[in-house]
């Protein structure tokens, strides 16, 4: 399940980059779906950051949490309100970064003590 989640997140990286480069390629609905999906995949990471907060580097955890919270709020709004956001391509770049951070976090975070044992 987790592997499929990671594969799905990794596929959102190129999709968001395409969306950033070709704003005229997608329809309003597809844009809303992309923003909504890209927001949803960030929630497990936010939950994990909260659960693992005592075992993580505080600065990294804090910066990542703030970034993800901002992304979730902004993109939830875009998902409901639709297109027409000024400089929307920057948002897609950040969504690609957020998806990359999901990969980096789950692949490189320290293994829980139970797994080490």
């Amino acid at each position: 399940m987790m592997i499929f989640y990671l594969i799905f997140c990794s596929l959102l990286i190129p999709v968001n980059l395409w969306a950033a480069i070709t704003p005229h390629l997608h329809s309003d609905l597809s844009m809303q779906i992309l923003h909504a999906t890209s927001t949803l995949v960030l929630l497990p990471l936010l939950a994990s950051l909260w659960i693992q907060r005592k075992h993580l580097n505080q600065l990294t955890g804090f910066i990542l949490s703030i970034f993800l919270c901002v992304m979730v709020v902004i993109n939830t709004w875009i998902a409901f309100m639709g297109m027409g956001v000024r400089n929307g391509w920057i948002d897609h770049i950040f969504l690609a970064l957020a998806a990359a951070s999901v990969e980096a976090y789950f692949l490189f975070m320290p293994a829980p003590a139970s797994e080490k044992a």
């Binding site: 592997i3 990794s10 395409w18 480069i21 070709t22 692949l107």
Partner: protein
């Protein structure tokens, strides 16, 4: 086996892992740790699947490489396609505007020699015609005069896109670098082609070509190629990793199956299909095994030779000490006590040498034991009598639970069995308090007949129980008593050589119970059955 017949029994390997000699025991330990790692790696959690194995890691690396390549190629392709479209449009517009500007300058209608006053209706009409000549269905050129009026191309049936013109000029006022604007859902590429000293500005714009379909097609192909490459690389990686890992697993299995006996018996086969590095590893490993086998043989021979050489002088010393104590007159109490201590130590040393010799013989397969019918009831009584005289400060109780109708005979070497029982009683006495009870219990067992040696001593910690029969292993709580850690390994070796086994049950602080189990003679069991 007929009574009295001497059986040459190979001890090593007959009882579970715990009697493996030193190096083999280490190999056994490494096997256990490898199995532990394998267990973790084969767990169901995703981290172990992905990062816990070579195959998973390489698959992840291949996936990442293909994804990065795919993302880079598609993103760059789309970006270049967009950029080229704009640049080509720009170049076309610029060339068109340049050509028209040159014409107007040549006709003195724009440029240096021209002033704002010269814009008569005739000139405007001529310039409008020129603008029309350079405009088309997609391209529009117009001139903004210094006072803000516009000179437009004179179109026949084509409508002049006034909204786009105003939007273009407003956009450029806000941001001079504006190139693409959208008016009524249509994208335009706009350009301020030239500004003249007299204040006129030449504008040009072109409808942007809709490349969505082409880009979608491009993306479709790229996705197809990307997914294909990813699957192909994952399959290739899996096949290659299995090719690399298979000989390593073989090597691991061979290592796990190694014992002191098989060190130089089963050479590691040549792995011709394996990669060069793995073949090299296998060769190095085989050489290591050879060296280990040589070293183990040397060590065995050394222990055997030293034990033999020391035994004779020690026996002489012991004999002289005994004789001196018995026959010498006029010895003071201190001298007699000193000689007695020396005699006891020589006996202890001889027992240690005997243990070493037995282990050495067991390792080399030269341990010779008699297999004969022994009445265990009589033997236990004899051992109890001997022990009572040795351990006067311990209570020793013998119980025989074998029903009268059953025989208490079993197959064993009586001398060696006596040694085993004395060792176990000695052990029980060593680790229990004075006046504590040591029980010898003879009872029937599913595998034959069992003799339990039960004490009320310090017991064995649970963590030590699996290792208690290993050589030189001593329980954590045994530091208060002297010992080499060889006694129980010799017991296990002898029991194994007699075709029986020894088991232990213990709880720290509550005492231990060692059970010696011996097989009944085959004739007896067949009669019963």
């Amino acid at each position: 086996m007929p009574k009295g017949e001497t059986a040459k029994l190979k001890a090593t390997g007959r009882v579970k892992g715990f009697i493996l000699p030193g190096p083999a025991a280490k190999i056994e330990d490494s096997k256990a740790s490898t199995l532990g790692t394998d267990f973790v790696a084969s767990g169901s959690n995703w981290r172990s699947q992905l990062l816990g194995s070579l195959e998973g890691q390489l698959q992840l690396a291949a996936y990442t490489a293909v994804l990065i390549g795919f993302t880079g190629a598609t993103t760059t392709g789309l970006w270049l396609s967009n950029r080229n479209q704009i640049r080509n449009g720009e170049a076309e517009l610029q060339a068109n505007a340049e050509h028209m500007s040159n014409n107007l300058v040549a006709q003195d209608q724009l440029g240096q020699g021209h002033s704002a006053k010269d814009w008569s209706p005739t000139v405007q009409a001529e310039v409008s015609r020129e603008l029309r000549d350079h405009s088309s269905v997609r391209t529009t050129l117009w001139i903004e005069l210094a006072d803000g009026r516009l000179v437009l191309p004179t179109f026949g049936h084509i409508a002049i896109p006034m909204q786009m013109m105003r939007a273009t000029m407003q956009a450029h006022k806000k941001d001079q670098n504006t190139r693409l604007i959208t008016v009524q859902g249509q994208e335009y590429l706009t350009l301020l082609s030239r500004s003249y000293p007299t204040g006129e500005r030449l504008w040009s714009s072109a409808k942007a070509t809709d490349t969505g379909r082409i880009q979608n097609e491009f993306l479709g192909w790229m996705i197809l190629i990307g997914v294909g490459s990813m699957l192909l690389s994952l399959v290739t990686i899996t096949v290659m990793v299995r090719r690399i890992v298979r000989p390593l697993l073989q090597l691991s299995e061979r290592s796990a199956a190694l014992t002191a006996d098989t060190l130089n018996q089963d050479p590691i086969p040549e792995m011709t299909a394996a990669p060069k590095e793995v073949r090299q590893l296998a060769r190095t490993y085989a050489e290591l095994m050879e060296r280990l086998a040589l070293s183990w043989n040397d060590q065995r021979r050394f222990v055997s030779a030293v034990s033999h050489e020391l035994r004779t002088p020690l026996t002489i010393v012991q004999g002289y000490l005994q004789r001196t104590i018995k026959r010498s007159k006029g010895l003071s109490d201190d001298e007699r006590r000193g000689l007695k201590t020396a005699e006891e130590e020589s006996i202890r040393m001889r027992m240690l040498l005997d243990d070493l010799l037995d282990l050495s013989r067991g390792d080399s397969g030269q341990l010779q034991l008699n297999q004969e019918l022994v009445d265990l009831g009589l033997l236990v009584d004899k051992v109890a009598d001997l022990s009572r005289s040795n351990f006067t400060d311990r209570r020793l109780e013998v119980r025989n639970n074998i029903p009268n109708v059953e025989s208490s005979e079993a197959l064993a070497d009586p001398g060696r069995l006596q040694q085993v029982l004395l060792d176990l009683i000695d052990n029980a006495a060593k680790y229990s308090a004075q006046n504590s009870l040591i029980t010898l219990l003879l009872h029937p067992h599913t595998d034959g007949i069992a003799i339990d040696v039960k004490d009320e001593g310090i017991g064995i910690p649970e963590s030590d129980l699996p290792h208690i029969f290993k050589r030189f292993h001593r329980a954590k709580n045994s530091s208060g008593s002297s010992g080499t850690g060889l006694g129980l390994s010799v017991v296990a070796l002898l029991m194994s050589a007699m075709g029986g086994e020894v088991r232990v049950q213990s709880k720290e602080g509550e005492g231990s119970c060692f059970s010696v189990i011996l097989p009944k003679p085959p004739t007896t069991s067949s009669t019963k059955s």
